[in-house]
Amino acid sequence: MQQSSREMQGMASSLNGIPSSAGVAAAAAQIALQELHNGHRQQQIQNPSMQVPAAHFDHSTAGSEAGSHDDFFDQMLSSLPSSWPDLGNPKVPWDLTSSSNPNGLAGKSPEESATAAAEGLQYAPYDESLLLASRLRQHQISGGSSPAGKQMLLQLNHPHQQQQQQQMLLQGMGRSPVATSGGDSGLLPMPLSLGSAGSADSRLLVDRSRDELDPSFRSNPTGGEGLYNGFGGSLQGGAQAAPQQHFHHPQGPSMPAQNFGGAPSAGVGQAGAAGGGTAPPRQRVRARRGQATDPHSIAERLRRERIAERMKALQELVPNANKTDKASMLDEIIDYVKFLQLQVKVLSMSRLGGAAAVAPVVSDMPSERLAVQGQSGRSGINGAAGNDSLTVTEHQVAKLMEEDMGSAMQYLQGKGLCLMPISLASAISSATCHPRPVAGNGGGIHHLNPGCLIPAPPPSNHNNPAVGSGAGGGGDGPSSPSMSVLTVQSAMANGGDTDVSRTSVKDAASVSKP
């Protein structure tokens, strides 16, 4: 036995690096199962809470647990370094790409640095714009060198447009690029009307600057001064618009790439045409019907769309997901996650077959009965008497259920029993099954539909394989009984999807269908 265990260890460690191939994993699974069987053949401590067929799962009650931790965690840790970086260091971010933000482990540092970098990028253009705006105003006051101002403005707009284009086309909607595009979008209102009214003026400003670039070379001071007045007013509006956009940044508005993809290209196209357009600008982004062009509402809309899309994906995963309301859908999701976690807990307990451990799961009085049966079942004391009464009870409840659920529940309550979802019940029952040669009991489970009565003990297969398996595996495989019980069902229609549960597993929990 020791040798086989060592072999398995060796095989397992050698398989560390190649866990992905199904064949290898299947071999490992086989070996693991054999190991489970072999290891417990030695100690035949009759633990009745677990169905113990000839050479299977056995549990010894002696000893400490520290040693197991060593091996188990060593195994886990050994497989970690191959694929995962340093796990123990919470500061080291595992994935610094903008696509996946490591929130849980890496703490604030990468997040903040990314956003800080993005913010830094944003601030630069704003400083420039403000600087140029102030300079232009000065020029307006001094009343000279209009072409210089226009050139400055053009320079300001062009590189930013190029930046924006590159960023938006290349980076998509990741988080940091969103911040930068958001940052640059603040500038966009200057050439394009995506912002407030002030931006419209600034747009006019740009257009006029481009248009007037050629004619300004003819040094038309009067027209230039007139333009400057317009400049001053619109610049103030533009300068105000820019900081407004700027302040909204930290909230991270995300702009749709399509709008900006179209707009900058339109803007640049216009500029390249050098005065092809007349004074009224053609760069205004046409809003879709019924939707505002305000960047914040656009960001809101995008965020809502993303959330709706994720909710739809979740709807497919979670059963009973026909709710259209977001709140109730979230409730369903929460319940389902709790249910799955509870199942993991129960299934891990079921391996031990500890009825005392299972007892906390069942919150009602049946827990006592369950515990009693589990512990005394070892000696098979409770055998026949309990089974008979349970069978009778089950029949009674089935009859009552046909008429009225309320009365059925009251009857159960009076008896100190409860209903549970099939999967849970079968998991528990497989854990709590006793090695009693009670053949007739297997039928008891099949009569009940949406759940089974706790603590109806499942058939003990290892003593009566014929009957147990013939009964459709009523208590054995937790995956199958949910199907077999349903098929046998005649009393209730469509019991499969409904469950009546009075335990801590909530009402919304459904029979888990794979």
């Binding site: 188990f72 703490g107 297969n461 995956s479």
Partner: protein, 153 residues
């Protein structure tokens, strides 16, 4: 980009999951010295979560958080530290994305508590992590049911 991530890492790799979990189970069962059922069930539960997280890979926030929690707890038990202390203190981000437009603050918070590693995430990312987590949870539960079924036959 988000779409690509969500589609690729969708389906849990069941053989990998089975491999990790069964290996851990075998290791646990080999250790014939168990103090109590509760301890052993706790160990098995942690083994289940650890194998789930290992199979999920480091790209998900929940898998990282789960693994950290499991390993920290295991090591703390080895060294005799009290196990009530959770490692949330230095993983927990106090700065949360406070969105006034979030219509379900309470429910989202409940979900945040349930899904490991999802303490400070906006709703869309939280939903994505939840979907992934649910997939892996289901795979793990099915695996455990199969193991129980096969062993109890």
């Amino acid at each position: 980009m988000n779409r690509k991530n969500s589609n690729k890492s969708r389906n849990p790799n069941k053989p990998t999951l089975a491999f990790y979990f069964l290996r851990a189970l075998a290791c646990i069962n080999k250790k014939t010295s168990m103090a109590s059922y509760n301890q052993r069930s706790g160990t098995i539960k942690r083994a289940a979560y650890a194998s789930m997280a290992l199979a999920a890979g480091p790209k998900r926030a929940w898998s990282r958080a789960v693994l950290c929690r499991v390993l920290w707890w295991g090591s703390s038990r080895l060294h005799g530290f009290p196990t009530r202390r959770r490692p949330r203190a230095f993983f927990h981000r106090r700065v949360r994305v406070a969105d006034p437009k979030l219509r379900e603050p309470s429910k989202a918070d409940v979900l945040r508590r349930l899904v490991p590693g999802a303490k400070a995430m906006d709703l869309s990312r939280l939903l994505e992590e939840t979907a992934h987590y649910i997939q892996y949870l289901r795979a793990q539960v099915l695996l455990m049911q199969n193991v129980v079924g096969s062993v109890s036959d």
